[in-house]
Symmetry: none
């Protein structure tokens, strides 16, 4: 497993540039028993050439047999053991929309919901209102004040929003107010530990909820809210410190931007409508200023979740077609992989190891893989390895690690 | 490595059924430098088809280079790190013959032996008397009473028996009384820690030995006994708790039944003369009542220990021929492997990784293995992995684990 003390001790400020391209949920399964996976079926001349020239392998995101969520799977790719660094979802959500979560902050994920006249939830997601509708609801709440803390409310996507309280003496140790089922009333915020800070924070949160309920009353369908995943600053070690890298992130979805931000990456502005080619151009735009860029492609995962084998394959082909934009940057180390598998066949994330190619013409060990695909990567030079080891491999191939011992 | 806290947190009560078929000592070595192993040489059309359709890999039972005993090797297959869960052999032996070992119990393995007129051991195994002879010897001891404890003596196999003391305030911390060599006298039971319980238990055990010696005197060849492997209740986490499974065990040999019982499996009645087909029919008999069945085949190991390549191969072929009985049960996840290697060439257990196939048609990743054998499994989808990870893989493939994180 990755060892931050070791990496920190050996990492150098000098060396080659690293580009990490993550296709979310890249790994797949055959639809037909003897057939190809999505990646194997896709026409990917650029990726095939990189796999043929470079090293291949398979990563295990969390542990054998464990189906990863995207948050922990990305933590692992960045070298942070997700069983050690178990980040509260509230912090991820807030960071993902550009609200930083610092040492004085407590953040939570919120849902707008619908309640009946008795206050009982009839729809936990307020009919999945559109994001711009949610922005209107948020506008009713932005000027709520609480004693001694700064309150920030911001829409995320559809019925989801983020809440951040900033002030001294707050605690993230609160239970969710979301009862997780229609037919129940939203719960009050209750401390999950016995501390004055948690008690104080619960009081503040309950005051916020009471005032919000008053303002939302009658405004169907979003006439109430629930909160969950209270979290403070996870205070993660940063890429600058552990890896001596100056990193940037190009990602369209908030959650990935959130994780990247938590580990110290500069978040590059993107547009929700960005194609892979658009994202790659954004990478090119910041390439001169950074020695590490993480670029995230969401739609491989989305189409896998849809169960649409051909659509997932098409996203992979789109990435491959745009790849020359990245290759023109001449990265010293280019890694292409996924954070986890999302086989269209399972319509879900899965635990299956994820194909990976590492192309670093100055240092890579070519193996026998002739193209980029699960079955080729299984017997590659990098073997099957924990995703948390990837950053060390990336640094090494870019000549960014000192020798260990004499 | 397997992580019980994680598995316990993610395991679900619902999901597919799992069948674990263990051929003891399955892994082998070629007899001729360019020749096949026992498994590769065997004609196994059923296993070959499963390997071709499903995933293959190699397990490392304890650690690289470590030759495993059967007890720890099975603990590992069941997900219990044998370096953490180091079970006293006395408890295994007692559990294996159906004597449960609970919190008030201390158990030990016994040998009947032969001593001369001076009490010096001349044969540590009393001429390996037959099991029914040992039962006659045991019959002389069953009514021995000790103050405040219940004494149970039971024959195991040949010259071996199990002793269990049941009562308050006992301790398993006693040294063996077996001097491990002829030409020495049996030792007295001596505490291995300085505690009143150990001292008290040693006194009780010595009283038992003294009374037994009196009763056995003159009854050659079994005119004395030795005791070793004193052990209490290992209080292992149970399959029901960790994996949310309702497990059963079909095994002919006591030790395997013992290990299975310690982890919570229901022990199915078997006959010492059961063939693989007989054992498989017993699996079928309990299949409806369980979501996990472990089935153990002993004779692959025995023939390996004999150094009989062809006989070991024949046992594997016998298993393959009977396999349709198991396939008819339509397990969602079927795993076929060994607990360790026992190459006929070495006439012994060995540290070599063990071939494994995992067949779960709804979720498995087919690899390039075309048949079941060491060299095919080496490049399989599951890679080379610690046996302790197997249960997590089994649960995942049967859709019995929740996602980790969002």
């Amino acid at each position: 497993m990755a060892n931050f003390d070791l990496t920190r001790r050996l990492a150098r400020k000098e060396g080659g540039k690293i580009l990490l391209l993550v296709m979310d949920g890249l790994g797949g399964l055959p639809i037909e028993p003897d057939g190809p996976t999505e990646l194997e079926a896709a026409n990917t001349p650029n990726l095939d050439r990189l796999a043929k020239e470079g090293s291949t392998g398979m990563t295990i995101p969390i542990a054998r047999g464990i189906e990863p969520g995207s948050g922990p799977a990305h933590m692992a790719l960045f070298g942070y053991d997700p069983l050690v660094y178990d980040i509260g979802r509230g912090a991820l959500e807030a960071m993902g929309i550009g609200l930083d979560v610092g040492p004085d902050d407590v953040a939570a994920r919120g849902n707008f919901c619908t309640v009946d006249d008795n206050g009982v939830i009839t729809d936990r997601r307020a009919g999945r209102i559109a994001t711009d509708k949610a922005a209107e609801v948020v506008a009713r709440l932005t000027d709520i004040t609480l004693p001694g803390v700064e309150v920030t409310v911001r829409e995320v996507k559809e019925h989801r929003f983020a809440l951040r309280l900033r002030g001294k003496g707050l605690s993230p140790h609160l239970h969710d107010t979301d009862p997780q089922a229609a037919g129940a009333k939203p719960l009050a915020a209750v401390p999950s530990v016995d501390s004055p800070e948690a008690k104080h924070t619960a009081e503040l949160v309950n005051a916020f909820i009471a005032e919000a309920a008053k303002r939302l009353k009658g405004h169907l369908p979003a006439n109430m809210l629930t909160l969950r995943g209270f979290a403070g600053d996870p205070a993660l070690p940063k890429f600058q410190d552990v890896y001596k890298l100056n990193p940037a992130c190009v990602a369209v979805y908030p959650m990935y931007r959130g994780v990247a931000s938590l580990v110290g990456m500069k978040i590059v502005e993107t547009d929700a409508k960005d194609t892979p080619a658009d994202e790659f151009k954004r990478v090119a735009g910041v390439w001169a200023q950074h020695d590490f860029v993480f670029c995230h492609i969401k739609y491989t995962d989305s189409r896998g979740e849809d169960g649409d084998f051909n659509a997932k394959k098409a996203v992979i082909e789109q990435v491959d077609a745009a790849l020359p934009i990245l290759l023109d940057l001449k990265p010293d180390t280019l890694i292409v992989t996924g954070d986890h598998s999302t086989p269209a066949r399972l319509k879900s994330h899965s635990w299956h190891p994820v194909p990976l190619l590492l192309w670093a013409p100055a240092t890579h060990m070519p193996d026998r893989a002739q193209c980029f695909g699960e079955r080729e990567c299984m017997t590659g030079a990098l073997g099957q390895f924990p995703a948390t080891d990837l950053m060390q491999l990336a640094l090494a191939h870019a000549h960014r690690l000192e020798r260990f011992g004499a």
